[in-house]
């Protein structure tokens, strides 16, 4: 095989392999459901896969299941069903789509989803808590909340060695110990510290690689689209966290991205504008949403979504395998806190991203379904534009509910934004 051939094989490999892994994952869940096997329900911001995989528990991410119904354009069927059951149109669409999946006995467009033997959640999103209560009532299976204190005020995070940090870390460690006991109880298996270390090792590889991949996308042209390609990578980062397959995937993804960076290979467009994305993608028109930008030769070079929806693993925190549980507590605190910061205190993060990624604009996409992410965006945008001279666009829609997605209106706003960007660039070139 020539170098050119092997290069051609590398480019796009992450997307192909990501899609294949995704299929494998849902096949495993389907088989688990068919066999009546156990599964744990978890969430993207602090899945605690590190512990669950040590018990070989298949993991279900209901957030991912729900977004898949939107990407496959059937979300409305699920939302309608949950609303008929009593859920308001004004609550999270992810929750409602999942309620309908549960009411259908686990039937999902990608296969059968097993019911939860155990649910593990964090407080990174309050809806996680309300959501888990629904399963508690439906299945009467255990629910465990890992409570992770976040940043109390912008810029006041404490770190290792500080008394306040240690109090938070200790609290998390106690809870992790309790979770281990619960897993032993639910699975009937003894906790295996060596297996745990092995899982943490894979998680370390994935965090290191994830951090590197995000960093590499500062290349010009950008190597991948943070909204479209990034979502595929995120799926693997979450579903396969702590697994050998996940670690291998991310090592190969770094290899691909480094190759692309070294050879100046970007995406299929002529990169004219580099954008940052803040919020949650518009899954009901996922591809089309991106096209509204790519038609103007714009690409998303980074996003807060890639940070918070990876549970803060973008920080690249690596666990100390010599003291695994204490280190997991520390890593969970640092990473999930960071995920929360990228939702609530993202202005400093965006200021750095604008510089590091040489961004031309920031796209805010608050959504009806997710108040965690969306509530502070209008104020954050005001603040950012007072501090930094950068064009921004604020478009509201939803991640699930096509009733609040108006493509025509969105296109008008986006086109106007680019006309402004174009004009700004011309004035800048003309020195006026």
């Amino acid at each position: 095989m020539t170098t050119e051939q092997s290069g051609q094989e590398l480019v796009g490999r992450g997307n192909r392999e990501g899609a294949a892994l995704f299929k494998d994952w849902f096949t495993e869940l389907d088989q688990t459901a068919a066999n009546g096997g156990q599964a744990a329900y978890v969430f993207v911001m602090g899945s605690l896969n590190e512990i669950l995989k040590s018990f070989d528990l298949p993991v279900v991410f209901p957030e991912i299941n729900s977004l898949q119904t939107a990407v496959r354009r059937v979300a409305h069927e699920y939302l309608d069903e949950a609303e008929d059951y009593g859920y308001s149109p004004d609550i999270c669409g992810y929750v409602k789509a999942d309620v309908a999946v549960q009411l259908r006995g686990g039937q999902h467009p990608m296969g059968q989803i097993p019911p939860p033997s155990l649910t593990v959640l964090t407080n990174a999103c309050n809806t996680y808590i309300k959501w888990a209560e629904i399963w508690e009532r439906m299945y009467e299976t255990p629910t465990f909340t890992i409570d992770i204190p976040g940043t109390r005020q912008a810029g006041t995070q404490t770190w290792q060695g500080a008394a306040d940090f240690e109090a938070d870390r200790r609290y998390i460690e106690v809870q992790l110990t309790e979770l281990v006991s619960l897993c032993e109880e639910v699975t009937g298996k003894k906790f295996d510290i060596d297996r745990f270390r092995e899982v943490l090792g894979h998680a370390n590889t994935m965090s290191r690689c994830w951090n590197r991949i995000l960093e590499l996308n500062s290349a010009r042209p950008a190597l991948f689209n943070a909204v479209t390609d990034g979502t595929i990578f995120l799926g693997v980062a979450n579903g396969f966290r702590g697994t050998e397959a996940g670690a291998r995937y991310f090592e190969r993804l770094v290899e691909e991205m480094e190759y692309k960076a070294a050879n100046g290979i970007g995406q299929t467009i002529e990169e004219k504008y580099r954008l940052l994305f803040v919020g949650v993608p518009c899954y009901p028109i996922f591809r089309r949403f991106n096209e509204l930008f790519s038609e103007w030769d714009a690409t998303f070079v980074n996003s807060t979504y890639l940070w918070f929806a990876s549970g803060g693993t973008n920080r690249g925190f690596e666990y100390d395998l010599a003291d695994p549980l204490a280190s997991l507590a520390e890593g969970t605190l640092v990473s999930v806190r960071d995920a929360m910061d990228s939702m609530f205190h993202q202005n400093e993060i965006l200021a750095d991203m604008i510089t590091d990624f040489d961004a031309d604009g920031v796209i805010y996409h608050p959504i009806k379904s997710c108040r965690t992410v969306s509530t502070g965006l209008a104020d954050g945008r005001r603040y950012l534009t007072e501090q930094i001279d950068i064009p921004t666009l604020f478009i509201e829609s939803d991640m699930m509910d096509r009733r609040v997605v108006s493509e025509a209106q969105m296109k008008n706003r986006i086109d106007a934004f680019f006309e402004g960007l174009e004009s700004r660039r011309q004035h800048s070139l003309a020195g006026t």
Partner: protein
């Protein structure tokens, strides 16, 4: 603890019970929060704490006024541009009070009670120079580590309150404050006993006004108010009427308009509710000996009420609601939720299914603090009540 000798709400003094209650209602209905302004004018500092629960004793021990930030019936003219769509009203009107300086604060604290409200500290922090913080109350109260953690979090709050007030908060200061609040809790329990046992003695809106005042005046004054008026309420000779006994559920955060409560009181006896439940969160006395912060933390975890924004395996909300209904010997429940209130709306589903199972009648409704027309709602409630009366 009051740094000033000023009485911030004295309008009721020396008046008959009916006139005193009228003053209470007027003060609670007003969006101007005059007692808070009076406190500041006399040199006091104010700590705003957003719904639902806050350890007010800590702020009180620093000689500051804990002010419950719970929105107001105002238009969010200034605040609107700080928020997107699809949000509850209380977020906007609370910020409005601060932006237009109706209420001036020296510190603001919010809690991650819901996805929307957990953004508030960051939003306020970008708009005001004073400390705007999140108090992370435990979301895993079932963990063995939760009390120690909360004790540390309360200590952090103590340090912050010291910085803001410029005054050391000793354990003895805290113990004195706990005693004041214990008295307040006892009086509040007394008020709710009246509601449950003899609801004809006090109108729903009067009981609500008496509770709500606790969020805007010093607790010593509030204790004085309740200690004076509650015995007079008990002395009333009002005769009971043949009315349906209702429990109102859904007032833990955004408050229904005063007129809505008044309307419910006209059509029924409101024998229990979760209105401003944070002011009545701790259900028993907090010990005044030993470590005061530990005592407060322990009371929060072990001797407290329930709400849709706290997950506690020992307190399934629908079971707690059914207990509340049974304890109050209520005939039915109003299951309300503020518009766009995700936890409230989600809980409604669980409540309706549980009440169906128990064959307890209920009426489901949404409200907004700014709503002003109740004719349609009143008609529906009346129909519901008549159906129960004559079924």
């Amino acid at each position: 603890m009051n740094p000033t000798s000023t009485t911030v709400f004295g309008e009721w003094h020396g008046k008959s019970l009916d006139d005193a209650l009228l003053e209470c209602r007027d003060m609670v209905e007003s969006p101007d929060f005059e007692p808070v302004a009076r406190w500041r004018e006399s040199g006091g500092k104010v700590v705003g704490h957003f719904q639902v629960v806050f350890p007010e004793e800590i702020v009180h021990a620093a000689g500051m006024l804990p002010f419950k930030v719970r929105g107001a019936p105002v238009e969010p003219n200034l605040a609107d541009s700080h928020f997107g769509s699809y949000l509850c009203s209380i977020l906007k009107t609370s910020l409005e009070l601060a932006l237009d300086q109706k209420v001036q604060l020296d510190m603001f604290v919010s809690h991650p009670i819901c996805d929307a409200a957990r953004n508030l500290a960051a939003i306020w922090g970008r708009n005001f120079d004073y400390p705007c913080q999140i108090l992370y109350l435990p979301q895993n109260p079932n963990s063995a580590g939760s009390i120690d953690y909360l004790r540390h979090e309360y200590d952090r709050m103590r340090r912050l309150a010291q910085d803001v007030s410029g005054r050391e908060i000793t354990d003895d200061d805290l113990r004195c404050s706990i005693a004041v609040f214990n008295e307040n809790r006892r009086l509040m329990r007394d008020l709710y006993d009246i509601k449950r046992e003899t609801p004809w003695l006090i109108a729903a809106e009067d009981a609500y006004a008496l509770v709500a005042l606790a969020g805007m005046i010093p607790r010593e004054e509030h204790n004085d108010l309740l200690a004076t008026l509650l015995p007079l309420v008990r002395e009333r000779t009002t005769r009971p009427e043949d009315r349906i006994r209702l429990v109102f559920e859904g007032g833990f955060c955004e408050q229904p308009p005063f007129d809505l409560i008044r309307m419910l009181g006209r059509t029924s006896y409101l024998v229990d509710d979760d209105l401003l439940i944070g002011l009545r969160w701790i259900t028993d006395d907090v010990p005044t000996d030993g470590d005061p912060l530990l005592n407060l933390a322990e009371a929060y975890i072990e001797r407290s009420s329930y709400s849709p924004v706290q997950h506690d395996l020992r307190k399934p909300k629908e079971k707690m609601l059914i207990d509340r209904i049974n304890k109050a010997e209520a005939d039915a429940a109003i299951l309300a939720a503020a518009k766009m209130c995700e936890p409230g709306l989600e809980e409604q589903v669980a409540y309706t299914h549980a009440l169906d199972d128990e064959e307890i009648a209920y009426f489901v409704s949404e409200f907004e603090e700014n709503m002003s027309s109740f004719s349609q709602l009143e008609l529906q409630v009346e129909t519901f009540v008549e159906h129960l009366l004559f079924a």
